[in-house]
């Protein structure tokens, strides 16, 4: 397929989304959402106000913390489970099962343990983001082709050299995929946290907009969240694909 056709198709899809959006607006009216162009304009205005950035900073810092904790803890746990095959086999289905529970029900526990501040949000983000990082890392270590390690031994590499030149490059693409999924889920966790019990942050802005019937605000903030999430995810996905192609 030519590049030009790709761009054309992408544009068509974007237009289709805008058309559906406009159609929903026509159908459901201004009590439900604002039309595309008005929303974009209001969102741009919103991005110029210090009030919005006050909320955004709260969300972003909680998000950054939860991503960092999920990444460090998740990779460490994943490597550990991967290295000790038995522990990994015991843990993997348990983690997969934990991944499928409705984690939102645990949020009150986070609030009771950490109070109403940012720590509860961060902990809740970590609950969401940690497991995929562990699972992907574990899988990566488990699925290293044994011949690579035998090659390393036949080349008489030291353990450190083996890690540096064989293990890390072999598992990196999978870990990157895990981090990408963890990244999205941390954002989800932090936003849900803010939607449920918080006075600050983007999630609060959305829920506040809903409760005060401020459709303009809700739609605009929703758009900003989506653009941020999709943009970040696409960038990570591109990186992810490059790593996988190299590997």
């Amino acid at each position: 397929m030519s590049r030009r056709q790709g761009v054309l198709d992408g544009t068509l899809i974007l237009l289709a989304i805008l058309a559906v959006w406009q159609g929903l607006y026509q159908y459901a009216g201004s009590a439900a959402l604002t039309p595309p162009w008005a929303t974009v304009r209001y969102a741009v205005d919103l991005l110029g106000t210090p009030n919005f950035w006050g909320h955004a900073t709260q969300t972003l810092s909680a998000f950054a913390w939860s991503v960092a904790i999920s990444a460090v803890l998740g990779i460490a746990l994943g490597l550990w489970f991967g290295a000790f095959r038995f522990a990994g086999d015991v843990a993997e289905p348990m983690l997969a099962s934990l991944y499928t529970i409705p984690k939102v029900t645990l949020y009150p526990v986070m609030l009771l343990l950490f109070g109403l501040g940012p720590s509860a949000k961060i902990a809740f983000g970590v609950i969401h983001g940690l497991i995929p990082v562990v699972l992907f890392t574990l899988g990566a270590v488990k699925n290293i082709r044994p011949v690579l390690l035998r090659t390393a031994r036949s080349l008489r590499l030291s353990p450190i050299q083996t890690a540096r030149f064989v293990l890390v490059p072999a598992v990196l693409p999978e870990i990157a995929s895990g981090l990408r999924v963890g990244f999205s889920l941390c954002l989800l966790g932090v936003l849900i946290g803010e939607m449920f019990a918080s006075q600050r942050g983007i999630g609060f802005l959305i829920i506040n907009g809903i409760n005060s019937h401020n459709v303009k605000l809700t739609t605009a903030v929703t758009l900003i969240v989506i653009v941020f999430a999709v943009g970040a995810n696409s960038a990570l996905l591109a990186l992810d694909r490059r790593l996988h192609h190299r590997g």
Binding site: M1, Q5, G6, D9, G10, L12, I13, L24, Y27, A28, G29, A31, A32, L33, F86, D89, V90, A91, P93, M94, A96, S97, Y99, T100, I101, P102, K103, V104, T105, L106, Y107, P108, V109, L111, L112, L113, V181, F183, S184, L187, L188, L191, I192, M195, F196, I206, I207, I210, V215, T218, V221, T222, V225, I226, A229, V230, A232, N233, S234, L237
Partner: protein, 253 residues
């Protein structure tokens, strides 16, 4: 065989150990008793609650909402997946959307869904459906991609028509992925519905948990929470057991 029994035993051991650990931590005050209930009391509360009519009504409401969302997502996700697989150009164009789908917290669409569907179960069904749909769709696409081309050629050698090729060759070949999609769809529908109830609605188990939290009724909160978590884990474990029975028979060949 012995290794797998050992793993299974270790898994039970770890689970029980963690529960006992939590029990001890709560009883000795290591974890603030106001924050976390000991597991034994959670279980007692859960059993008690499940005898009250109000809770049973909530359970029925939530489960039926999840069931409708899940079934709808599986059927429509499969149908759309099959259609999209047949139109590669459309699929390529939509691919980035699918890849980014789960990075968007879909609860932000709840007000829109309320405006579209009114209050009640419908917007919740819609949230569960929207959460589960792409999982099934992506699994269907993946399953169809992974049907070895040689099997399609075998079908042609046996001179099967399109319908028989689909029923006798393509579907069974794609089944492992489809099953994966069904499993994920159930989990996501459940997560979506509970979260929708929790944050935004006025009924169902999710709402009951949020309400109990806000009225400082820890016993009810933990009892219901345990029930929701157990429901998710048990349904997922059952589906996984069924799946691995299927997988074991046919291996990974």
């Amino acid at each position: 065989m012995t290794r797998s029994t050992r793993i299974l035993r270790a898994r039970w051991g770890v689970s029980l150990g963690l529960i006992v650990l939590l029990e001890v931590a709560c009883r000795t005050g290591l974890v603030p008793p106001l924050a976390v209930l000991p597991p034994s009391e959670m279980a007692a509360a859960m059993v008690e609650l499940l005898t009250t009519e109000e809770v049973l009504a909530n359970v029925a409401a939530t489960f039926s909402t999840v069931a409708v969302a899940f079934l709808g997502a599986v059927l429509i996700g499969f149908a759309v997946g099959v259609a999209l697989h047949g139109i590669p150009r459309l699929r390529r164009a939509i691919d980035p959307l699918l890849a980014s789908y789960y990075s968007v917290p879909i609860f932000v669409f709840y007000p829109l869904l309320v405006a579209l569907f009114g209050l009640g179960a419908l917007p919740l069904i819609a949230i569960g459906f929207l959460a589960a749909l792409p999982a099934m769709l992506i699994a269907t696409l993946l399953g169809l991609d992974r049907v070895p081309p040689v099997l399609r050629r075998v079908a042609r050698m046996h001179r099967l028509g399109p319908a028989r090729t689909a029923a006798l060759v393509i579907l069974p070949a794609a089944l492992p992925n489809l099953f994966q999609g069904i499993k994920l769809s159930l989990a996501y529908a459940f997560i979506g519905v509970i979260a929708g109830e929790f944050i935004l609605s006025g009924g169902g188990l999710g709402y009951a948990i949020a309400y109990a939290y806000e009225s400082f009724d820890n016993r009810t909160m933990y009892g219901l929470m345990l029930f929701v978590l157990l429901s998710a884990v048990v349904s997922n474990t059952l589906l996984s057991a069924w799946e691995s029975r299927l997988q074991r028979r046919r291996g990974r060949g």
